[in-house]
Symmetry: C2
C-alpha cells in the first residue's frame, strides 16, 4: 500500500497560516510527523494564493526536503506551478498530483511527467459534470490510461483516482467509486488506483469513522495507494487490518509486526 | 441488518460458570444488555455438558424470556436439544442455529424448522473437510438452499452462513468467505447471509479490530445479518458506518440518528 501523506495542503487552516508567514518550522513538523508515521510520499500543496502558487510550491518543496528524506508528491491543478516546482525536487522520483482530461491540463502536464519520470495521479474528472457513476469513472479511466501509455508513460507509473463524492447527498457515491476501482484494476493489469478519502464524509458527523470504513472497502476492491493522513492512528490501524483481512499480508506478518511495535494500541 | 446477539454462549467462560450454578441473574444481565444495545435476536447456547444440553437450553430460553422481549435464536448442533427447547419459545418466530448437510443433522433439523416456522441458519459445513474455497462454500450453499426451499421453507427464512476460518493460518480465508457471500446473494434472490466474526481473528492480536474490518467487508458484499456482540461499541459503529458507506442507509439517516443518540462517541 503506497501512502501519500496529505497534511501539507493549503486547504488546511494551519498550513495556510504557515504559508502566509513562510513558517518553515510548522511545515517541517508536519513533514517529520508524516515520515515517522509511515508515509511513502509527502504531498505538498501550496493552494491558490493569487499569482503566488509557483513560488509557494517551490518554497514548500525546499522546506520539506530540508528535513524529510522521502520523495514528494507535487500537488497543483496548475501546470505552471508544477513546472516551477518539479526542478527543485531532489532524490527519488517525484509524483505529480494530478493530470486530468479537463481543458489544456492533459497536454500541459503530460510532458512534465515524461521529463521528470514522475509517477502520475490521473483524475477521473469529467470535462463538464462530475463523473458520478462507475461507468463514467471507468470511461474516463480508460481514456486516461490509453492516452498516457500511448504517450510512453509506463503503466506502473499511473495512479488512477476515480474520485468519490459526499455520501450525505448521494448514497451510492462510495459504491460507484469502489466498483470503478475493482474494474480499473481488473481491466488494466499493472495500473494503480488511489483515492483521497475526505470527500466521502463531507457533511456527516464523526467523519474519520466514515473515511476509514471507505478505505477498508477500497482496499478490499484492490486499491493499492491512498492519499491519507498517516498520523491518524485509527486510520492506519484500519489499513493494516484491511490488508490482513483481504489477503494482502501473508500470514498477517505486517499486522503482527505492527502490534509488536505498539502501533495497534 | 439483522443482529443476532452472541454473548449467551457456553463457550464463553462467564456463561459456562452461570450455567453450572444456574445463575439466572448473570444470564439475564447479558440478555438485557444485548437487547438495549440493538439486538434483534438473542442467541442461546447451552454448550455440551454431557447429557444436560436439552435441560440447560430450556432453562436458558425461560431465563432469557423472563427479562427480554425479543425473539430467540436456539443454538445447538444437537437436534434433540433443539426439539426440547423450541416448544418453550414464546412470542415471535424463533431462529434455529443451525442446520447443515452433515450426517443426519439435515433430516432431523428440517422438520423442526417447518413445525415452528423458524428462521434457519444453514452452515456451509462440508461432510468431511471444511469448505475452504469460495467454490466449495457456494456448492454447499446451493445444495442447502435448493433442498430447504424444495421442502417448503420460504427462501426469506434461510440465513446461509458460509463460515470463515482463521486468517493466521490461511491468508485467503476471509476473501473466500466474502466472495461466497457476494455470489450467494447474487444467485439466490431473497436469501440472507449471516456469519459469526470471531473465527477470522483466531491467533491474531487485537482481534476486535480484525473482526470489525471483516464485518465491514462482508456488509460491502451484501451480507444482511450477523452473529455479533452488540454491546461492542466500536463494532456497532463500524456496522453503522459500513451501512452508510455501502449505500444501505439512505442519506445516512441511521448513521446521523446514531450520532444524535450518542452512539458514535
Amino acid at each position: 500500500m503506497l501512502i501519500v501523506a496529505e497534511r501539507i495542503n493549503a486547504s488546511r487552516k494551519p498550513i495556510r497560516a504557515a504559508l502566509e508567514k513562510l513558517d518553515a518550522a510548522a511545515i517541517q513538523a508536519d513533514a517529520r510527523a508524516q515520515a515517522a508515521a509511515g508515509a511513502h510520499y509527502i504531498d505538498v500543496n501550496g493552494g491558490t494564493f493569487p499569482g503566488r502558487e509557483p513560488e509557494l510550491l517551490c518554497w514548500l518543496v525546499e522546506t520539506v526536503q530540508a528535513v524529510a528524506d522521502l520523495p514528494l508528491c507535487i500537488d497543483s491543478p496548475d501546470p505552471a506551478a508544477l513546472a516551477a516546482a518539479l526542478p527543485k525536487v531532489k532524490g527519488g522520483r517525484p509524483m505529480i498530483n494530478s493530470i486530468s482530461l479537463e481543458g489544456e491540463r492533459f497536454e500541459r502536464v503530460l510532458p512534465l511527467a515524461l521529463q521528470y519520470r514522475a509517477r502520475l495521479i490521473a483524475l477521473c474528472q469529467g470535462e463538464t459534470v462530475p463523473a458520478s457513476t462507475a461507468e463514467q469513472k471507468l470511461d474516463l479511466a480508460t481514456q486516461l490510461v490509453e492516452r498516457l501509455t500511448r504517450a510512453g508513460l509506463p503503466i506502473d507509473d499511473i495512479y488512477v483516482d476515480p474520485l468519490v463524492f459526499p455520501l450525505a447527498t448521494e448514497s451510492g457515491s462510495a459504491n460507484a467509486t469502489l466498483d470503478a476501482i475493482g474494474e480499473i484494476m481488473r481491466r488494466f493489469p499493472g495500473v494503480h488506483t488511489i483515492c483521497g478519502l475526505t470527500n466521502v464524509s463531507h457533511g456527516l458527523p464523526v467523519r474519520k469513522l466514515i473515511n476509514r470504513t471507505f478505505l477498508v472497502g477500497a482496499i478490499a476492491r484492490g486499491m493499492d495507494a491512498a492519499i491519507i493522513d498517516p498520523t491518524d492512528m485509527q486510520l492506519m490501524q484500519a489499513l493494516l487490518a484491511a490488508e490482513a483481512v483481504y489477503g494482502r499480508d501473508d500470514y498477517c506478518m505486517n499486522y503482527i509486526g505492527a502490534y509488536q511495535d505498539g502501533k495497534l494500541a
